[in-house]
Symmetry: C2
Subunit: 547 residues, 2 copies
């Protein structure tokens, strides 16, 4: 028997209508290339989104087609988010930092009809345009005064001119909640980028899940500054969740890595909550220390995208009274999977117990089902010890990559994240490795990350990596590869002895090799793949412990 | 083009699984007839819900069939909520305070297969049982020791005995999110009660909408005591939203109107948030004043179900440091429509401005679309002045009453709430009347409630009611009907003059009649319907102002 409540769809359009009516006077403050501090209200931005929707219809874009954006966080990009998705088109946010061949691939793969680009990215596109036969034209996100004078791009349009004479009313189409709203590509280390195609439903549900009091806890009383780019998984959804609750938005434009601008924005606009990757926090902390400034309105900071070093937590808390909280997720998860805030019994813990908890990735948000499994796909207990591959399920988790012919899920419908983690009895997940880097020894898993962290505490170690090497008896055993600190020549046996008492004895690497340098990926991480290739066929010496 | 995220249903089952895994150790404290302070965890309750689900299957109840409950707020009622709905059956919560003929009507209309009842309601059912041919049996929510000895009810089962030997694992069925989960009847003043049939989807979405930081703001750090009965629109959803966020639940059982017990529960259990109707707060405040007790852990109180008198707001805030917030909704809305919490610019207002704001019903929660319309169904502006009929729309609003043959919505798909209200520019709704009581004068609407409140400020008025009476020129004009305060004989002309300067001059009642008493409904409200019947054919005198 079916319930008899209204069968109304969850759409970004309804979210926008709600915010326009109930929170129309909430502010959006932006840094753009043509204005260091642009101010408008939600009502202004949604009015311009309706003008833009009229313009998009005239550009000949059809429902279901993609429009690409290469843009920083500002009000014009926000207008694009809403006008495109609510018109039934797909907002394809493109990371301008990708390699040119990746940009070419994804723009063509998405069949982007038009590209809306910041002034700063025009030169990039001038070089690429010949390889983008499907793109009908380029709209520069600026006013007439700032338009490039002699661009080689054909069909180059000024955004402000495009929307200037359009009516500010628009009859938004009735959408099915499962229609596609946005597209974001993951830039994997191997193969071509893969697209994740979000729906209106997944976006609205993700929004509800992320504003919960123990997740972002986003409120009309917050002033939120998403430093995470709007081309990184929809800026972690903050450009949707801000309007859901009426929060004031501060969008730092191209100034995301500029500690001085971030500090000024926080203090001038009264920012209470900000979100970004650890490098952003390092830049902000660095500026604060040098300038002797403070950030009294800032209450909490969400960090994600990479493991956050402990000093960031400590400095923010001790010097500036800001609580740093980890979030974990991925493009395939819209992105939120887990969030780390305290449970009641943890509030009175001594700092020595709080610190290791803060370093965990947190507990699942309501809407995300999470499990850890062993090699045979058997679910492992949440005891804080058993480490397994992390699998997730939920209405904002991917089913299938864009244009793929097979599902991205396992036979039971779970998505394997590629992470290895423990989960404790309170539901807090701690990532210990990537699935492809974990070392499988005697049927058990050894965390390469934990061994590397331990190695790095040795004074003579500049950089360390641990990889699994084939072993007759144990299948794999860990090999420690070390770049010595300049001017030192550490003794491999002593480096291995350094692990005694710090990790389980059977985790201690089997051998240690010194190298002048480690291979790195384009983003600066150690390339385990290249390192494994370098040590292919490695043979354990007679001293190795496991034999 | 459809998005490619997982097509997973929004179900109470998934909500329960989440709470069981992530918040299994959160507590549920109950007052029951067999225990003054029963304690268990979510994990305990969900384990017993699985035992109960096995028992329900053995009782022969099928998917889509209704099971009735007549019970106060406690852990066993919570187990019923989850076991019934997650089994794909419908949890029909019955208000035991209804008249016997209404109970008979709704139990038969719902075709309840079994009734699960508190010990206290067994005598009530013994009298009714002959009229309930479809009910297969009665399960008393108690243990063997407390079972009634000589009941006339056939097939009388003890709840604890029923579930005791059942396995604590259960294979929950895969449900469609639109399947019915619960049923609640409205007890209208005319005609038979009408059933509202909730779905899993509407329930989960309502849950997300109500826990938002600016609505209930419910968190794992809260200890929440729903004093609103679980048979009143699912206890305003708190038995679902508590588990969604992991909050500790305090369920006061039959002690809802007992100020002393409520105070003890608040202080012993550290209650931070409570929710109920104004009479409950009067009982609690009365006890606090008499006993000189305080409620230091209590932070906020949600009041709804009826207009809340200003002294409740003031006393709680001034004497006990508790913020009282209004919620508005109805059975047909799951129930939440609007919630009254401040926007940022209101926080610094003087108390003299905050008070009238607190008396409003608040702004819509994200998920509820609200409009006010005039007689011609034209939308009225949100200017705080124009009053119109309140219409709502959203995924947790009714489409059609249970077993009805026509929709409960208008041609455009909106549900008319029966309330008349203004909405200000910030989106705060203020109910001024019921649609059927509003006075339509010269094409404009006059609020009977506001006139009654004004009349009540006159020292010689004990009770007052204002109704619309036919008027040749203005269609309707207001008639003031007054019960004089004992020992006084007010002058009608002076009572009318009392309105001068307090309301718009054309709102001032046309005439005033003194009566010894007013007709009342069973719940103690003035029966405008009976009053209108009493004054049918009333003729305006020559002095009336409108002529």
């Amino acid at each position: 028997m079916l319930g008899q409540m209204m069968n109304l769809p969850l759409t970004i359009t309804n979210l926008m209508r709600f915010a326009d009516k109930v929170y129309g006077s909430s502010e959006i403050v932006s840094v753009t290339i043509d204005s260091p501090r642009h101010r408008c209200t939600y009502a202004d931005a949604f009015k311009r989104a309706r003008q833009l929707a009229n313009a998009l219809a005239k550009l000949g874009v059809e429902r279901g087609q993609c429009i690409g954006t290469l843009a920083w966080n500002d009000y014009r990009h926000l207008e694009l988010y809403y006008a495109i998705s609510c018109s039934g088109m797909v907002c394809h946010t493109i990371n301008p930092r990708l390699f040119p061949e990746q940009l070419e691939y994804i723009i063509n793969h998405a069949e982007d009809q038009w590209l809306f680009v910041d002034l700063a990215f025009v030169p990039l596109l001038e070089k690429l345009a010949d390889q983008l036969p499907g793109v009908k034209g380029y709209v520069v996100l600026t006013d007439a005064a700032h338009m490039p004078k002699n661009s080689s791009l054909s069909n180059l349009i000024c955004y402000e001119t495009l929307i200037a004479n359009e009516p500010d009313s628009f009859d938004w189409p009735q959408l099915d909640e499962n229609e596609a709203s946005a597209l974001c590509y993951t830039s994997g280390t191997t193969g071509n980028p893969k697209g994740v195609l979000y729906s209106h439903r997944s976006t609205v549900l993700h929004c509800y899940g992320t504003v919960l009091p123990d997740v972002f806890g986003l409120s009309v009383h917050d002033v939120v500054m998403p430093i995470v780019p709007m081309f990184h998984v929809n800026g972690w959804g903050l450009v949707y969740s801000g309007p859901m609750v009426g929060a004031k938005l501060v969008l730092p434009g191209p100034k995301m890595g500029d500690g001085e601008t971030l500090c000024a924005l926080i203090n001038d606009e009264g920012v209470t909550l900000s979100a970004g990757v650890p490098t952003v926090w390092l830049a902000l902390l660095d500026f604060l220390e040098k300038s002797d400034e403070s950030v009294p309105t800032l209450e909490r900071v969400t960090t994600g995208g990479a493991a956050c070093p402990q000093p960031i937590f400590d400095k923010f808390r001790e010097r500036y009274g800001v609580e740093v909280q980890q979030a974990w997720g991925m493009t395939e998860m819209s992105p939120l999977g887990t969030y780390n805030s305290f449970k009641p019994h943890m509030r009175d813990w001594p700092e020595s117990d709080k610190t290791p908890l803060r370093l965990k990735q947190g507990r699942p948000a309501c809407g995300v089902e999470l499990k850890i499994v062993d090699d045979a796909n058997r679910e492992l207990p949440w005891d804080g010890k058993a480490a397994g591959a992390v699998k997730v399920r939920g209405p904002w988790v991917i089913q299938r990559y864009f244009k793929a012919t097979a599902d991205a899920t396992d036979a039971d419908g779970w998505f394997e994240t590629g992470d290895v983690a423990t989960v404790d009895a309170d539901g807090y997940m701690m990532i210990t490795d990537r699935t492809k880097d974990v070392i499988k020894s005697g049927g058990e898993w050894i965390s390469s990350i934990e061994l590397e962290n331990t190695a790095m505490t040795h004074p003579q170690v500049a950089e360390a990596a641990v990889i699994g090497i084939y072993h007759e008896k144990w299948t794999e055993r860990p090999l420690l590869v070390v770049v010595p600190r300049a001017g030192t020549t550490p003794d491999p046996a002593e480096l291995l002895a350094h692990f005694q008492g710090k990790v389980a004895s059977w985790w201690i690497p089997e051998a240690c090799e010194l190298v002048p340098e480690l291979p790195h990926t384009a983003t600066g991480k150690v390339s385990k793949k290249d390192l494994r290739a370098q040590f292919q066929g490695y043979r354990w010496g007679s001293k190795s412990m496991g034999q």
